[in-house]
């Protein structure tokens, strides 16, 4: 099994609503995948299925195991922070570390303490005494100290200040990530993860709207900025999406002839955020 996550026809319904609609997905080792979609698109539902937290229809295998059946053993090689996850409020930090150490064979106390030393969290603190940001720091420190093959982060940096967010992603990339590991991140702060992602998956209304590598994005997508008088010409070239900024028209093209576009105006590589907006508002990409 080369793929860390492999899904065929993955679906999940809650009563009449279809949260995840027949998704096919392959994620291989050594990737950092951004899973991006608007609220209610089915990101969290898909992740829950992958983590064995919810039942599902279709075939799904994570590290060669069935998450629905083998959650406990799967969790030896998978770690996650759920978007609404909270640490138990009654627990003291040292108790939390001791429990994690005893239950998780791949947890390193030293690493965790090293990450914690950059925060204001002490071992004697109770979780309920910590601020929201500190709890997140604690949770991230624990997760980064666990040596797993797949790390799933659902909105991991909610409530953290920008300094710590930057530091976290730097740590994630420098200390944590390597060829054997896979990281799946969902976040609304796309700009912050953009530069560390290797792959991009957009989810829209329970379906995958885009699944490509970041290199593909650079190769295939072009943003063209033109003055209003050239807008009509640009529009004829069938852009995916058009928006207006400070009186200039910005078009997003896929697999366009760059030479041809260059004559009309300035070319850029679109940011993930722009691509996201275009994909969500436009049609098929």
């Amino acid at each position: 099994m080369n793929n860390v996550i492999e899904a065929h026809g993955l679906s999940k319904r809650y009563g009449r609503t279809v949260a995840v609609d027949n998704i096919d997905l392959q994620i291989s080792a050594g990737k950092i995948v951004g899973l991006i979609g608007p609220n209610g698109a089915g990101k969290t539902t898909a992740l829950k299925a992958i983590l064995g937290l919810a039942t599902y229809d279709g075939d799904l295998s994570v590290l060669g195991k069935s998450p629905a059946r083998d959650r406990a053993t799967l969790m030896e090689d998978v770690c996650f922070i759920a978007d609404v996850a909270v640490l138990p409020r009654w627990i003291r930090v040292w108790q939390l570390l001791e429990l994690t150490e005893k239950i998780h064979p791949k947890f390193s106390r030293e690493k965790c303490l090293k990450y914690l030393s950059t925060t204001k969290v002490t071992l004697e603190h109770r979780v309920k005494q910590l601020s929201k940001g500190m709890v997140t720091q604690l949770h991230l420190a624990i997760v980064m100290a666990i040596d797993v093959k797949l790390l799933v982060l659902d909105e991991p940096t909610l409530g953290l200040d920008i300094l710590y967010r930057k530091q976290f992603y730097t740590n994630l990339l420098n200390d944590y990530f390597d060829e054997q590991r896979t990281i799946v991140i969902t976040t609304h702060q796309v700009e912050e993860v953009e530069h560390i992602l290797s792959d991009l998956i957009f989810i829209k209304e329970g379906r995958i709207a885009l699944d490509c590598t970041m290199d593909d994005v650079q190769e295939q997508y072009t943003e063209l900025m033109v003055a209003p008088d050239k807008a009509a010409t640009a529009r004829e070239l069938k852009p995916l999406y058009e928006r207006v900024l400070f009186g200039r028209h910005i078009f997003l093209f896929k697999n366009a002839n760059r030479e041809q576009l260059k004559e009309l105006g300035e070319l850029h590589t679109p940011s993930v955020a722009d691509l996201f907006v275009a994909t969500m508002n436009g049609g098929e990409s």
């Binding site: 829950k48 983590l51 030896e76 759920a82 996850a85 909270v86 005893k102």
Partner: protein
């Protein structure tokens, strides 16, 4: 095994107040009452005359009667501990699979490689073994401290505590019986424990309501239907529950025995299926009964449903 121990430790840490502070407070109340008793005597007459007379009066009584009273007292002094323990375990189990769903820390626990079966096992183990053991230890310590205190008082009043009461009863026997009754009660109470865990895993809110209301409604309906059919109030869920309670192997009341005077009793001596004398054999009788077999079957169903629900607790 290590994981199970770690999970049991977590239960202890989370419930320190209920499991450890509560019995300590009960022990403290016992000691405070004892001290108040002594102070009261010293307050009304400085020379402890009345207390002295009381002790002399006791010393003059028949040895057989004294040892009987002592034996009963040794056992009965566990009753408050036992009753509070029952409450503690009841509410512990009721919250055991509910609290982490409510505060969503379940998502953290589920991110650790511990199966739901192991989690449920650890909680049941905490209820059946950890809580009773801690209560028992503190009961024994309280008992020892009170005996020491009383011996000192008796000694200081010029009487011999050994002949007065220490030599008349073997406290180890009482402690052993109480511990055995705690563990047999843990097994006897399994259907209740299973039910409480099931409710705890199921209740969307206010588990207490979900635990109590269904059996009460069912019981009342049964009563009513029985009444309509036969104009009698015969066997029904309430009766069943009452019998279960009265047949408990826990030392919780006293009884007059025909041949050997009075003593403590297992459960409440109003039923006749089991002998209510406080003996290990009588406790085990309850465990090796058809009633218990049916109870275990019911427990298995409850716990199976609990596991099923726990697996799906993060569904939405």
């Amino acid at each position: 095994m290590n994981r199970l121990l770690a999970l049991v430790k977590r239960e202890f840490w989370e419930n320190k107040g209920a499991f450890r502070t509560t019995p300590l407070v009960i022990g403290g109340i016992h000691l405070a009452a004892m001290l108040m008793f002594i102070i009261t005597f010293s307050h009304f007459d400085n020379e402890f005359q009345s207390l002295k007379e009381l002790i002399r009066f006791i010393a003059q009584q028949d040895t057989e009667l004294r040892s009987q009273i002592l034996y009963a007292a040794n056992l009965e002094s566990s009753v408050i501990f036992s009753m509070v323990l029952a409450f503690v375990v009841f509410f512990y189990l009721l919250g055991s699979l509910y609290d982490d769903r409510k505060d969503r820390s379940i998502l953290f626990w589920k991110s650790l490689p511990a199966s739901d079966t192991l989690t449920i096992t650890s909680k049941l183990f905490a209820a059946m073994v950890v809580a009773p053991l801690i209560f028992w230890i503190i009961y024994v310590i309280t008992h020892i401290v009170i005996m020491l205190l009383f011996s000192v008082v008796v000694l200081s009043l010029g009487e011999n505590p050994w002949t007065l009461f220490l030599s008349l009863g073997n406290p180890f026997e009482a402690w052993g019986l109480v511990l055995t009754s705690y563990f047999t009660q843990s097994i006897w109470a399994l259907p209740l424990y299973g039910w409480l865990m099931l409710v705890s895993a199921f209740a969307p809110r206010i588990p207490l309501l979900f635990a109590v209301l269904p059996p009460v409604i069912l019981g009342v309906l049964e009563l009513w239907i029985d009444f309509l059919k036969t104009f009698t109030l015969s066997d029904n869920l309430f009766g069943l529950f009452g019998r279960w309670f009265a047949n408990s192997p826990l030392i919780m009341s006293g009884d007059m025995h025909e041949n050997d005077g009075f003593g403590a009793a297992l459960g409440i001596p109003i039923t006749h299926e089991f002998d209510h004398h406080v003996t290990v054999a009588n406790m085990f009788d309850r465990l090796f009964s058809t009633d218990m077999l049916i109870s275990l079957a019911i427990t298995a169903v409850f716990l199976g449903a609990t596991l099923w629900l726990r697996r799906r607790a993060t569904e939405s």
